[in-house]
């Protein structure tokens, strides 16, 4: 009997979802939203994601870097949000992730143009990342001239950089022994 009284006292505990939207807390951690414009393809999020929900890799013909997110795998930990240098992935307040018929509806994709190495012509990073770095360096007080000199270096893939360095060092050593 007491329990029935209580029901009257507290009234309706449910509400008319989905017609009445559910309000989540301010700092709710929902589905990560991807802002394509900001992404520079640095792959930091892909590395940080513990559940491999984010994959960043080259497409088959190696012309684009594909950023791919699978909401079904995401555990909403927010690591991607934490590591992204440009704020391109931010946890949203969205929690309604059910999709109809097709699992692919859970996926989100973004394609970025790749940059080819000036020496070996292999794709190694994105155009956006290069311009982002140049922009940062400019902001950090590098003047145009030094930048222009270094641009070639920035546009070289790590492998070629390493080879170049080894060459320089061996040459230096040779010279030194002479």
């Amino acid at each position: 009997m007491k329990l029935l009284d209580m029901a009257n006292k507290y009234g309706k505990a449910t509400y008319n979802y989905p017609f009445q939207p559910y309000v989540v807390a301010e700092n709710f951690r929902g589905k990560p939203s991807y802002i394509y414009e900001n992404c520079i393809g640095c792959t930091a999020c892909g590395v940080a994601c513990p559940s491999n929900a984010i994959n960043v890799k080259l497409n088959e013909d190696k012309t684009k870097l594909v950023w791919e997110f699978d909401a079904a795998r995401c555990i909403f930990c927010g690591r991607c949000d934490e590591v992204c240098p440009t704020g391109a992935v931010v946890l949203s307040q969205e929690f309604e992730l059910a999709v109809k018929f097709d699992k692919n509806n859970l996926k989100e994709k973004g394609e970025l143009d790749v940059e080819y190495c000036e020496v070996c012509n292999k794709p190694f990073t994105t155009k956006r990342l290069i311009s982002y770095n140049l922009h940062r360096l400019e902001k950090a007080g590098w003047n145009k001239e030094t930048l222009d000199k270094k641009v070639h270096y920035i546009r070289t893939c790590p492998d070629c950089k390493r080879k170049h360095k080894v060459e320089v060092i061996t040459q230096y050593l040779k010279r030194g022994t002479k």
């Binding site: 329990l3 807390a25 709710f28 951690r29 559940s51 930990c77 690591r79």
Partner: protein, 579 residues
């Protein structure tokens, strides 16, 4: 004198100890010869007041050419009587370690002397092929009945985890052997393959005489997920905490804390105060959430759906609280080595305190109403008795053991970090029945509310996470413990190379409660079977089917989930009437 020194000296009087290792201060590992193992564990368990918390078999052939066993005992006193308890300052963990040569993987069974070791020793064979000589119950436990002979999944060289043995056709699958009581006319009641109260897999077999259960046996682990192997092979610590969380849908946070704590303790890492406080808060929120669920379910299986609904209404608040504290409706995805990922704002704390108030008043109100209901109490009282001695022998944990009058709680026996600054009680009851266990849960709810409140009030400032510079020391190991809603969770971690774990042993609370369940069934009616399992608050995923067999006619019948639940609620139309 260092902690636990006198206990070690007492063991030394009878048994040769070759090595003593401390990491950290209150965790002592002693090495004994394998032939001395049962006696060493027995002395610590019965003579010196230890409880078997976990046992870790490990494949250390790469390190020292042997297999090793670690029997982890929580030294806190027998607690059979109030003064039978070790003083607070002397409470510690003592691990008995022994080497087993790779060419002769056998050791004398400890189970003969300490019954609590039974599941652990069965598991050691399934996973590592280490045979306990003299083990009374050598059946398979962890791996399925169709698992190939001689393949031991946790050995380092056993198999590539990407390839699994081919599944056996269902019709060729061997039958699991159940332990059967002798006697004419035992009725075999299969309960399962799905469990009645929590819809999870697990096969129970109840042996009945008429309506009374005279014995029970169960086959679990239909869902062994091989998490420990997964972590060893390819996870780093960043991912492991989140993996540990997936052990359970309810007490997952406690698992991730214990797992990360173990990793931190092994390298002596101190985390910021604010993170410590927030870890305690999240653990207590989880307790609110879980205890409300269990009290609700205990009402529901006895047909009191009204109370169930009210309790679940209150439970909703605990999820809102979790949302404020961690940003998700469960407390998940928050722990990292070195602290916590997410901080709280002052406004969130204020809102949380308000919710706590609501939870406290409304829980009291509903509990009072349930206590007024004589029929409800009648269904709970005297059902599923967990005898004191059985609880002691099998090292039961959580509300299960506290309902039998033992003041055993990880927060009380082995407090660390922020817990030492808090002021709280450990409620116990002497009834040993379902009623006692639910009362313990109710009282704990109130304690949790008070703990969370204290934490919010004392909330230290500062950061919530530190960036550890060097993370791991190969081969350093430690125990991580905490009190999950169902009891103590123990994780044991040994670091490996390259930021990876060498061995991770995760022992969920329910694992220690299962072996004694059999004794709780005896003497009760079938209608109470569902309730007894429910009051244990089992967690199948962290550990993991019911056949009823009539002892008189020797016939058996499989009860469906619906049948049993219906009978348990209405007590009408006996499902075995026409047998």
């Amino acid at each position: 004198m260092k902690i636990g020194e006198n206990l070690i000296n007492k063991v030394k009087e009878k048994i040769a100890i070759s090595d003593v290792y401390r990491q950290p201060e209150d965790q002592i590992t002693i090495t004994v010869d394998r032939n001395d193992l049962p006696e060493a564990v027995r002395i610590l368990y019965y003579d010196l007041g230890g409880w078997l918390s976990s046992m870790v078999p490990n494949d250390e052939r790469q390190i020292n050419g042997n297999y090793t066993l670690y029997y982890i005992l929580s030294m806190e006193g027998g607690k059979m009587t109030p003064d039978d308890e070790i003083v607070k300052e002397d409470k510690c963990w003592i691990t008995v370690k022994t080497y087993i040569p790779a060419n002769d993987p056998t050791y004398p069974s400890v189970t003969l002397k300490v019954p609590a070791a039974v599941w652990y020793e069965r598991e050691a064979f399934d996973m590592f092929g280490l045979t306990a000589v003299g083990l009374p119950d050598p059946r398979r436990l962890m791996v399925s009945d169709d698992w190939p002979e001689g393949l031991f999944p946790l050995r380092k060289d056993s198999m590539d985890y990407r390839h699994r043995p081919n599944p056996v056709d269902h019709k060729d699958e061997p039958e699991h052997e159940f332990i059967k009581p002798e006697g004419a006319g035992v009725l075999d009641v299969p309960l399962g393959p799905l469990h009645i109260t929590s819809d999870e897999p697990g096969h129970f077999r109840l042996y009945c005489d008429g309506d009374t259960i005279i014995d029970a046996d169960y086959r679990l682990f239909y869902q062994h997920r091989g998490m420990e192997k997964l972590a060893e092979n390819r996870m780093n610590y960043d991912q492991m905490g989140y993996l540990a969380e997936r052990v359970c849908g309810i007490c997952g946070y406690a698992h991730s804390i214990a797992c990360i704590e173990a990793a931190e303790k092994a390298i002596g890492l101190e985390i910021p105060l604010r993170a410590q406080a927030m870890r305690v808060i999240c653990l207590e929120i989880e307790r609110l959430h879980s205890h409300l669920l269990n009290i609700g379910l205990a009402c529901e299986v006895t047909g009191n759906v009204n109370a169930f609904m009210h309790i679940f209404r209150i439970r909703e608040f605990s999820m809102e609280l979790a949302q404020l504290v961690t940003g998700g409706r469960k407390t998940y995805g928050n722990v990292v080595v070195g602290g916590l990922r997410r901080d709280m704002t002052g406004n969130e704390i204020k809102q949380s305190l308000k919710i706590l108030e609501t939870i406290e008043t409304q829980t009291n109100e509903v509990w009072d109403a349930v206590m007024d209901d004589k029929n409800q109490i009648k269904r709970w009282k005297g059902v599923g008795i967990l005898d004191k001695q059985v609880a002691r022998d099998f090292s039961a944990v959580g509300p299960n053991v506290r309902g039998s009058g033992f003041k055993r709680d990880s927060r009380y026996d082995h407090p660390y970090d922020f817990l030492t600054q808090l002021d709280f009680d450990i409620p116990t009851e002497d009834g040993c029945d379902v009623f006692a266990r639910e009362t313990v849960r109710y009282k704990e709810l109130l304690q949790s509310v008070s703990i969370i409140r204290q934490c919010f009030e004392m909330m230290p400032g500062g950061l919530t996470v530190i960036k550890p510079q060097t993370l791991i020391k190969p081969q350093a190991f430690a125990i991580g413990n905490d009190e999950a809603p169902r009891g103590e969770n123990i994780h044991w971690i040994m670091h490996g190379n390259a930021q990876k774990v060498y061995r991770w042993r995760c022992r969920a609370a329910t694992y220690n409660n299962w072996p004694s369940l059999r004794y709780q069934f005896r003497g009760n009616t079938i209608a109470d079977a569902a309730l007894i399992v429910c009051s244990l608050d089992p967690c199948y995923s962290c550990t993991e089917r019911v056949t009823v067999v009539d002892v008189k006619s020797n016939k058996s019948k499989i009860l469906t989930h619906k049948d049993l639940k219906r009978y348990s609620q209405s007590l009408k139309n006996h499902p075995l009437k026409n047998l």
